[in-house]
Amino acid sequence: MDRKLKEMLFFSAFRGCALLVVLSLVVLMWYIATGGLERLSWDFLTEMPRRANTEGGILPAIVGTFYLMLIVLAVSVPIGVMSAIYLVEYEQSSWMGRVFKLAVYNLAGVPSIVYGLLGLGIFVAFLGFGFSLMSAGLTLSIMTLPLMISAAREAIAAVPQSVREASLALGATKWQTIWHHVLPYALPGIFTGIILSVSRAAGETAPLMLTGVAMSLQRLPDGFFDSFMALPYHIFYMATQSSNLLATRPIQYATALVLLLLVLGMNLVAIVMRKRYRDRYKW
Amino acid sequence: MTPRTTFNHELEELNKEITEMANVAKTAIERAVQMIADMDLSLREEVREMDRRLYELNERIDKHCLDIIALHSPVAGDLRLISACLKMVEDLNRFGRYAWDIAQIVDDFEEGKAFKKFESLRTMACLVVGLVDDAVYSFLQRDAEKASHLHERDDAVDALYDSIFREILTYMMEDPHKITMGIDLILVARYMERVADHACNIGEYVYHMVTGERLDPKARVGNVPQNVEACDRLFDHPCPRTELDEK
């Protein structure tokens, strides 16, 4: 019967697609992993780069990325979560909601390089932070803010209205309701959003290029207004600009592997958390 | 669109059955009274047949009412209708019994014409047939007003029964040979009195069915002129309201 045949043909094609996707990603990871493991060592992680990055480790890059994550965590998270709470629980005039929706929805899709321009214009030039950790960190913070807000907002809005009503009907005040019920139940979702945002910031390169990431430093940044190195930029730099591209390939691979592990690890945590959260609260 | 087709259908069925039963019961009483009036013994078998039919209908409607209650959980007006039916059938069934009892007694009479002499018995028969007729009518027409006035006429019947009883007693004392017949007459009167009683019961049920209120028992106390004038008409047209049957 042709109806059956059609079904079979299409379904095989879909299986083929899936296989292709798996294959391509496995290949990618395989190359990075095998290439990177060659050079990866404890020393590589804990030493300063030497001789124009051709030797030594990548400690400043790791630390720089870590600092960036810290700034994002400190700036974007509280503002993002608070905004999300306000938007879900308090906001009541329709125009403000619309403006917000517009801003957040569209700014999430704006290319990261554009945020780089912003950072350059405002933090580096206008506010005079110069090419520093602070400029880069704040830029990344603003870049991840839409992601943060919408993640937190979704998590908060996913707490069913019935829980709020239950709490209010017991004579709890609005804030008590939010604090005792909405936030705790939304927390895993918010955390997921936080981790995703921070890991996105960790892997982002383009804005850093405009806000002062350094090609090579023999030291750790000694403050938030110092210049810094970062893992993704280090990969880019070593792969395209450094003096001896071929000789430093192992370093490039290893750095890529480190970044990959860092970001994937964080994402994994986020996803496991979300899954557990979903299992835990089945409304 | 009124929903609940099945339920409405069942209620219609029930209504048809009870209408049939009411008409049969009424006719049975009328035939029995006709037998007294005209000594028309040919009606005997007919009355018996109707008695049987009433018994059957009693069973059937009873079961039907229970079905409806069990399956459709009627409330309000529907429930009152069904409860009225449940009770009414017993009374209607009794009509049949009494009609048959009367028919049997009339049948036994040696001196058929005896009844004719008892004007008051005739009057009573008139009253009772009128009562039954009105009871059935009030049910079919859902006429609470009419139903509420049956009691008053029943009181008239009761009074009449008392006087008939005394009359026949005197009559028997005068001529002991009439004792058998006298007793028969008394029983007939007694039966008719019972019929009137049951007709009143029907009135009570109808009243409750239509209004949702119980008929105030105190209303029974009041005494009302006895409407006997319709009597002759009744005897000439035994089923004056058969046009209702189609309802």
């Binding site: 209010l168 009907a169 017991l170 709890a172 609260y281 | 009124t2 009627p74 409330v75 309000a76 949702g212």
Partner: protein, 263 residues
């Protein structure tokens, strides 16, 4: 401790939608009052007026008086939080907090604490553990759930069956010892057996509380309530003893509705 409710010319508007029109009614204490009517007739809106849950709905305007023990809950001077503490509510879908059973019931008492008069001064303090335990046990017992859960008070409230969850919600409401309890279709998500347990409980509760229940099921209203109010298109059509409503309703509309001949 029980309370009478009296509403006067209660009108509720959702934007342009006039959801409740001139509802004037009296609800007596220590009775179960049922509110019935076709979908969308304003039953939920009505009972949500009593504990001001309608405040949560954007664009909802409530006019008229809702006097609880003579005091208008819609008054601006009245503290909403206090109103809701005195008037408990149980919702259509069981909505226990995703906490342990114990915490579910202990939540509200913890919030409110104990108000004591010590040395002539009014003082609020926290409950002691023992007091809380007592409240939890008492509330669960009252909700006929204690026997079923006493060995697993630390399990999540979500792990209970639907009917048990609903009783947990009732226990939670009882924990603050409200004067009135509102139920908005509490059994519509439950099967007949669970429903009949809740119904029993409701009947039992009326000894101590004033109970108002919105229900889709006329049979349920008939089974458990003392008085019944029938709503239609935002108006209260008829209110009376349940027996009277179900045996001889005064209004044609009511009769149509309860005999299933509406529509």
């Amino acid at each position: 401790m029980t309370t009478t409710i009296h509403t006067e010319d209660l009108n509720v508007y959702f934007e342009r939608n006039h959801a409740l029109i001139d509802v004037t009614m009296d609800i007596q204490n220590n009775q179960v009052t049922a509110v019935i009517g076709p979908s969308g007739c304003g039953k939920s809106t009505f009972i949500r007026c009593i504990n001001r849950m309608n405040d949560l709905i954007p664009g909802c305007v409530v006019k008229g008086k809702v006097l609880v023990d003579g005091e208008d809950v819609n008054d601006d001077k009245v503290d909403v939080v206090d109103v809701r503490r005195r008037i408990g509510m149980v919702f259509q879908k069981p909505n226990p907090f995703p906490k342990s059973i114990y915490e579910n019931v202990a939540y509200a008492p913890r919030l409110h604490g104990v108000t004591e008069v010590v040395d002539g001064k009014v003082r609020r303090r926290k409950h002691t553990k023992k007091e809380l335990d007592e409240i939890v046990e008492r509330s669960l017992r009252r909700a006929a759930l204690w026997e079923e859960v006493k060995d697993r008070l630390d399990k999540s409230g979500m792990s209970l069956s639907g009917g048990q969850q609903q009783r947990l919600c009732i226990a939670r409401t009882l924990s603050i010892d409200p004067e009135i309890i509102l139920f908005d279709e509490p059994c519509s998500a439950l099967d007949p057996i669970a429903t009949s347990k809740i119904e029993d409980l409701l009947v039992d509760l009326k000894k101590d509380y004033t109970v108002i229940i919105v229900t889709h099921s006329m049979q349920q209203a008939a089974r458990i309530s003392d008085r019944t109010a029938f709503f239609y298109l935002g108006k209260m059509i008829e209110m009376g003893d349940t027996k009277q409503i179900f045996e001889r309703p005064q209004m044609e509309l009511t009769e149509q509705y309860i005999t299933g001949r509406m529509g």
